[in-house]
């Protein structure tokens, strides 16, 4: 196998070696996504849903099996393939596993049609809200089944993103994961206007972020003469080239990544999009996009910019603090469950950033463990949110959750457990995640940041508590929402999220061992 740095992809007449077994999971996902689009065109309408759901779930399981097969004897130090554009190393494998598992859960939520008759998605997203056609559409029970191939494309993009070893591949993966998400946000069956607004907002801001990323990429190419992360690292180590290009490029690049990870102060889209998007899609975004964004950030910062970390780390300190403070403080004022979880995710992004900028082995494994833990918790939390409904759809206003424990104790206790996990109470994965990330940060000399993070956690705990108080201690409202009996799909997704949250809280050893399996290969 040729080593990546010696190999030039542009070289004519010589096809790069491809380690097909290693990238098989990604190939399966993309292949099935393409197949799904074809099926959408060929199948009669009444068969589409069942075929698409079956295909998507089988695809993810199949990709998981291929992944497991490769994992069983993967080279310890990782490998690069496709002319060094993809690096299949231990972190990439861990994140792939995380993404596949979370993607499976998200697809279960997306596929559910019992909670909302006909599914959470609208049949024709292009109809203008408020028109006669729109009102007719609300009553119909059909849905847009393109959402399944779109999910697969996004998932494949995320997996590529976490393994991308040069900036150009990374950019393409970023677009592949983003474009389907923009579309999916606009598909909500209820509250069409909010949903469309969120799609437009996400698209516009996302386009800006992509442009930033691309501009940064261009500057870095100008600096290093290469888009490969390893070459940038080499160029940055001891040259007399202009630092302006390097740091300008880095700054723009990181802004693009921070945007995707919904890190404050680049978070402005998060609450609106989380609120407006169909809840299953929100769950998918909150869990998987975060994994992809931070996976990419970890790789870029560690592989390409470790040698210059002294120069940029202070800035990211400030960003992490801003994110934690914005998330925790603004979260206090929210009255909508989905917006509240959105601000919570901004605060969590701040915690994740702390682990990311530690740039140590512990920081890497801690951040990845945190991503795994947070992903499952937040997935299950959105699953629960989708169950609490009234006649107009999901009842996301907090006042409607009052006294939920009396109407439906099981749902209320499940959500309580998930909120405690988000708050980081022991015996949940959230606590172990905080512990590993903060201990990595402290060992790397970031004690002030850790203290700020812990205070932010305490502030954030207040708004989780507020929901618990509402659910358990308040009297239910007269015309309060009912809790739908979840179908098998949603039940499975929530159960999976809760079980993993508990398991990683009580017996985290196996996941921690896997996460600390090795560093990046480039």
């Amino acid at each position: 196998m040729p080593t990546s740095s010696m190999f030039l992809a542009q070289q004519p007449g010589q096809a790069p070696d491809v380690d097909y077994v290693a990238i098989l999971p990604v190939l399966i996902i993309f292949g099935a996504a393409a197949l799904g689009v074809l099926l959408e065109a060929l199948l009669p309408r009444n068969q589409r849903w069942s075929v698409q759901v079956g295909l998507t779930l089988v695809t993810i399981v199949g990709a998981g099996l291929a992944f497991g097969y490769y994992l069983s004897d993967a080279p310890e130090n990782g490998t690069t393939t496709l002319a060094g554009t993809l690096s299949i190393d231990q972190p990439a494998l861990f994140l792939w596993g995380t993404l596949l598992a979370l993607g499976f859960g998200a697809v279960l939520l997306i596929a559910d049609r019992t909670v909302e008759p006909g599914g959470a998605f609208v049949a024709e997203a292009a109809i203008r809200p408020g028109t006669i056609q729109d009102r007719a559409q609300v009553g119909s029970a059909s849905m847009q089944t393109e959402v399944f191939p779109l999910t697969l494309f996004a998932l494949g993009g995320m997996m590529t993103f976490t393994a991308a070893n040069d900036l150009l591949t990374m950019f393409i993966a970023l677009e592949v994961l983003s474009l389907p998400l923009y579309l999916m946000c606009g598909l909500a069956r209820r509250r069409r206007l909010l949903s469309q607004e969120s799609a437009v907002k996400y698209f516009l801001l996302g386009a800006f972020a992509s442009a930033f990323f691309l501009y940064g990429l261009a500057l870095l190419y100008g600096y290093a003469g290469s888009v490969k992360l390893a070459d940038i690292a080499n160029a940055a180590a001891g040259t007399d080239r202009s630092d302006a290009l390097l740091f300008g490029g880095l700054a723009l690049l990181v802004v693009g990544l921070l945007f995707k990870g919904s890190v404050g102060p680049f978070h402005a889209w998060t609450p609106d999009v989380y609120q407006g998007a169909p809840t299953p899609v929100t769950a998918f975004m909150a869990a998987c996009t975060k994994v992809a964004a931070f996976g990419g950030m970890l790789r870029v910062l560690t592989v390409a910019f470790e040698s210059t970390s002294w120069e940029w780390r202070g800035v990211l300190w400030a960003v992490a603090i801003a994110s934690m403070v914005i998330g925790a403080v603004l979260g206090l004022t929210q009255t909508d469950v989905k917006r509240m979880i959105a601000y919570s995710s901004i605060a969590h992004a701040g915690f994740l950033l702390i682990g990311t900028i530690a740039l140590t082995d512990q920081g890497l494994s801690g951040t990845m463990f945190y991503l795994l833990a947070y992903g499952f918790t937040t997935l299950a939390a959105f699953g629960v949110v989708s169950l609490v409904r009234d006649s107009t759809g999901e009842a996301t206003h907090l006042s409607q959750w009052a006294g939920l424990a009396k109407r439906s104790p099981l749902v209320a206790w499940t959500f309580t457990f998930l909120l405690l996990a988000l708050a980081g109470i022991p015996m949940t994965s959230g606590f172990i995640g905080k512990f590993v990330v903060f201990s990595a940060a402290l060992q790397d000399g970031m004690a002030p940041l850790v203290v700020i993070a812990l205070v932010a956690s305490a502030v954030a705990a207040f708004f989780y508590l507020r929901v618990i108080v509402l659910m358990h201690f308040s009297e239910p409202a007269e015309d309060g929402p009912t809790v739908s009996v979840p179908g098998a799909f949603t039940t499975a997704a929530i159960t999976m999220g809760v079980a993993v949250t508990l398991l990683l809280g009580v017996l985290p050893a196996f996941a921690l061992d896997w996460a600390s399996g090795g560093g990046f290969a480039s």
């Binding site: 009396k406 708050a423 980081g424 022991p426 512990f435 903060f438 201990s439 705990a461 108080v469 050893a509």
Partner: protein, 518 residues
């Protein structure tokens, strides 16, 4: 053995949660808590005071990546606290037997949470891995939060949230220090650990500024828990709104996690910092003694009254611990046990008064002893024990604390002694107002729906108030026996705690910055 002590209430609590019938749930909870009490006996007998510092140990790898072990073990201090828990929980179950739960709540939920909390409390005292300790420390909050929030008085939401946020904030600050300990051990040993005994060795040589920072993290958490002035404001609210039985556990056990933490973690792990910062702690302790005593005297709400007396007592315990003399520390540990018994009893008795009168306000009562002589007598006994009358258990502990502290800290000791006088004032005054004189007050003569009778607005005609029932006598009897028994013959407890206290004080005195301990 310790694992059984931990698992029995946990599994019992989970099982009770599924019982639909209230009476079955109560009986099951009582059975579990009595079985737990029985289990403590062999643990007590197997404990050898002159043996190793930590006994009956058990250690299993838990998170190898962080050197975290699931390790249990007890020393004398932990043993008496576990015994106190096992004693108080059945009493609380018995004491809450006839409580009217808020509408829509069932007994299964209450007793299930109570037992789960017992498991958590036992865990806090038997954990010998700092990480595990932290896990239990935080885990106890959750059942307590729901007990107050679901089953408490009118302002229960506010009290529950305040309790939880205070404790959680303290816990998170402590978490920073726990991680700090891990980082220090990783630096010194090459491989991080959170094992308590190993850390005590490692931290001995750590420089003072590191110790001070880490000490502060633990100290703030424990000072909130204990509660020391000025971090005490959650306790009167939580104590007043909690159901009586839960209040007993709150002031009787939960708060002692703080003082236990001082002894187990602050002193041995950060000896130099403990010495450097002792004056600060002592000032807070003495302010607490005097300030809380004055507030207690001024309270009209009986449950808040008990909560404030409790804060004053914790000042004494803090004084005993941070005086760095063996005698004072022995007194402090004995105080922890005695306080659990006497304040626990006071809380229960007050609960029985409230159950009869339907009001928490002292001003709604008067001359009650004429109607309920036995209740009046036991109120007096609990009060006298609380003000440390010679012949009751608390006298010995308070005496030891004061006499032991005097050598090292004469000024603080003299100031604290004033607190004893104030204690006599507030206890006897409260007793006089509630129990003595002609029968009077809205709660007793039944003016009906007066301003202070918010708890039971339906009171109409003159109520019939009966003396203690057989159940209530059965609940209070063990406490009466202990108050008088330990007042006359405290040796069994002193023997058990002696060597552990000695080791604790010594470990704190061997520090480079040590002053002359005994």
């Amino acid at each position: 053995m310790l694992l059984a002590l931990l698992l029995l209430p946990l599994l019992g609590g989970i099982a009770v949660a599924f019982l639909r019938d209230d009476r079955t749930a109560k009986l099951a909870a009582l059975a579990v808590s009595l079985l737990e009490l029985l289990l403590v006996i062999p643990a007590w007998l197997a404990y050898d005071p002159s043996g190793d510092r930590l006994q009956q140990t058990l250690s299993v790898d838990w998170i190898p990546a962080f050197g975290v072990k699931f390790s249990l073990g007890i020393d004398g201090i932990a043993l008496v606290m576990v015994a106190l828990i096992a004693l108080l929980v059945p009493i609380v179950v018995g004491g809450s037997w006839a409580d009217k739960l808020p509408e829509g709540r069932n007994a299964a939920g209450f007793y299930s949470l109570l037992l789960v909390m017992e498991a958590g409390m036992v865990g806090v005292f038997v954990a010998t891995d700092v990480f595990l300790f932290y896990v239990f420390f935080e885990a106890v909050l959750v059942p307590m939060y729901f007990l107050i929030g679901r089953f408490g008085g009118p302002r229960r939401q506010y009290a529950a949230v305040k309790f939880f946020l205070y404790s959680l904030l303290g816990g998170l600050i402590m978490l920073a220090s726990v991680i700090g300990l891990y980082a220090v051990s990783a630096e010194q040993l090459g491989e991080g650990t959170l094992d308590w005994a190993t850390l005590a060795e490692v931290m001995r040589t750590a420089d003072t500024s590191t110790q001070v920072w880490l000490f502060l993290g633990f100290f703030i958490a424990f000072a909130i828990k204990a509660p020391l002035f000025p971090l005490h404001t959650w306790l009167p609210d939580a104590g007043a709104e909690a159901p009586v039985g839960v209040g007993v556990l709150l002031v009787g056990i939960l708060d002692k996690i703080g003082t236990f933490g001082f002894l187990r973690y602050c002193l041995p792990l950060f000896p130099a910092a403990s010495h450097d910062l002792a004056p600060l702690v002592l000032v807070l302790a003495v302010i607490g003694i005097l300030y809380a005593a004055l507030l207690a005297a001024g309270q009209d709400d009986m449950k808040r009254f008990v909560a404030y007396t409790s804060i004053a007592h914790f000042g004494f315990i803090g004084l005993g611990i941070f005086a760095f003399s063996e005698q004072a520390a022995t007194g402090a540990v004995l105080y922890m046990v005695n306080h659990g018994i006497s304040t626990g009893m006071l809380f229960l008795v007050v609960g029985m008064v409230i159950a009869r009168g339907g009001s928490r306000l002292i001003s709604d009562y008067g001359g009650m002893a004429k109607l309920t002589p036995l209740l009046g007598g036991l109120f007096l006994l609990a009060g006298l024990s609380s003000l440390s009358l010679p012949g009751t258990n608390s006298f010995i502990s308070e005496f030891l604390v004061l006499i032991g502290s005097f050598d090292n800290q004469p000024v603080f000791t003299i100031l604290a002694t004033i607190g004893m006088i104030l204690a006599a004032l507030y206890v006897l005054w409260a007793y006089q107002r509630i129990m003595q004189g002609p029968v009077r007050g809205n709660a007793l003569v039944g003016a009906g729906g007066g301003p202070g009778t918010a708890m039971a607005p339906e009171i109409g005609a003159r109520r019939t108030i009966s003396d203690l029932s057989g159940r209530e006598i059965g609940v209070l009897a063990p406490l009466v026996v202990l108050i008088i028994g330990l007042g006359i013959y405290p040796k069994p407890v002193l023997d058990v705690i002696g060597p552990s206290v000695q080791a604790t004080v010594q470990s704190a005195s061997e520090a480079p910055a040590a002053q002359g301990g005994n």
